[in-house]
């Protein structure tokens, strides 16, 4: 079992094909698989569908694949902060499927757990419910949402061991575990690969069964909204 690869391009070798569905972790620019996205850009794979909460900004995250027109469709909950996205969407070049954020997360988790569909109250009575099966349980109406089964998952974690056990850091965990779970193959980029046994088994956030290839790399980790408070004078 060799899971550790030298770099993002090698880790993605043989996994990319035009028209594929990729589930990507991250929230805004926090915890996004920035190295793997760059490698997909370099590979030139086209007509991609991304299941990802956001679409990055113009020059970072999935935004870099929008600039090269490699993305056909986004499945997202929020796509502000990205002018090129809006341009392509309004001109009809890019398809967009809005999912409520929790529905998107649960669609990924369900896909990874072998659950093809689930009922939720979220979106009942809104445009999200149009065309979807409605069913009542205990007097309340729910809609049917489908699990996401991705061709490939790309995620970012803090630490991994060589068996693919992952630990995330603070709110950079976000969509990464559910995104990792829903792919046929998952590639994870991490800040540090530690020796087997160095991670406390009780503290693993995502077991290595979900992770097939791993790379270690330097991350820019860009901040989208830097907000601070003033230090009180002593």
């Amino acid at each position: 079992m060799k899971k550790v690869y030298a770099n993002a391009a090698e880790a993605l070798d043989g996994l990319l094909h035009d028209g594929m569905l990729i589930a990507a972790g991250g929230f805004g620019l926090c915890g996004i698989p920035e190295l793997l996205l760059q490698a997909i850009k370099d590979a030139g794979t086209k007509d991609l569908t991304f299941a990802s909460n956001n679409a990055g900004v113009d020059d970072f995250g999935i935004g870099i694949l929008l600039q090269t027109k490699q993305v056909k469709k986004m499945i997202s909950s929020y796509v502000g902060e990205n002018a090129e996205f809006m341009r392509q969407y309004l001109s009809g070049e890019l398809e967009l499927e809005f999912n409520p954020q929790g529905t998107l997360a649960e669609r990924m988790r369900a896909g990874g757990c072998g659950i093809p569909g689930f009922y939720t109250k979220t979106g009942v009575g809104t445009v999200i419910a149009e065309g979807k099966e409605h069913k009542d349980f205990n007097g309340e109406t729910y809609i049917l949402e489908e699990g996401i089964f991705a061709d490939l998952s790309i995620v970012k974690a803090w630490k991994a061991d060589d068996t693919g056990n992952l630990i995330f850091r603070k709110t950079a965990r976000n969509f990464n575990p559910p995104a990792a779970m829903c792919g046929k193959i998952c590639v994870a980029e991490v800040e540090e690969i530690v020796p087997r046994g160095a991670l406390d088994p009780d503290q693993i956030h995502l077991p290595g069964i979900y992770v097939h290839r791993i790379i270690q790399g330097e991350h820019e980790k860009r901040i989208e909204q830097r907000t601070t408070r003033k230090r009180e004078e002593a």
Binding site: G80, P100, T126, K170, F175, P177
Partner: protein, 208 residues
């Protein structure tokens, strides 16, 4: 006279009880955190955190620690982190006691519209639809009228809905209204606002 943004936030903070887990939206709802006083309130950030702390001091920003508005924040001694599916599991599962959110329109039956204006740039609903469908109590904090002076408290929403029949209480610059049978019930008037003034600024049916 009517309430300003901070007074609206202060009034909304009165809705929170000791021990509650609460989700605050962007805008005036964020200010509510400044007025919880001694109450033991745990703030949820739906990107995967319970126990959200204040903004960091300059130089202490951590790119791995942001809130749902993508702003840098800090953790507290009580903080826990989790993934997005778990986060919305606790929202959908009714574990979050209340959400305080802004709105574009609210209707007398509790319908809420706060995510899109047709013909204008659509950014997405984010977690708003999940929150209003899942949390125990939905409290809207907003100006009573829009910048043209038209009521935002309506008989029926004109904008695409975020949730149907989901709002429990509306706090505006003019007062506090509850969604009740047949229309809205006046709970409280803002300082210096007459009942007549509130009624004339409200398109929705007021039942008492």
């Amino acid at each position: 006279m009517a309430w300003d943004r901070n007074q609206m936030a202060e009034r909304a903070a009165q809705e929170l009880e000791d021990g509650m887990y609460v989700n605050l939206g962007i805008g005036i709802p964020t200010l509510v955190a400044n007025y919880v006083g001694d109450k033991d309130i745990t703030l949820q950030s739906e990107n995967g955190m319970l126990g959200m702390g204040p903004f960091p001091y300059e130089g202490d920003e951590d790119p791995d620690l942001i809130n749902a508005g993508k702003q840098t924040i800090t953790e507290l001694a009580r903080t826990s982190y989790f993934d997005s599916a778990t986060s919305f599991g606790m929202i959908r599962g009714g574990k979050i006691a209340a959400a305080i959110l802004g709105a574009m329109e609210v209707a007398e039956n509790g319908d809420l519209a706060n995510w899109m204006i047709p013909g204008k740039l659509v950014k997405g609903m984010g977690g708003a639809m999940d929150l209003v469908a899942g949390v125990g109590r939905v409290i809207v904090v907003m100006d009573h009228t829009n910048k043209h002076g038209d009521s935002k408290v309506l008989k029926e929403c004109t904008l695409p809905l975020t949730g149907k029949g989901v709002v429990d209480r509306i706090i505006t610059n003019l007062g506090v209204l509850d969604v009740a049978d047949g229309g809205l019930k006046i709970v409280e008037l803002a300082e210096g606002v007459s009942e007549e003034e509130l009624r004339s600024s409200t398109e929705a049916t007021i039942v008492g």
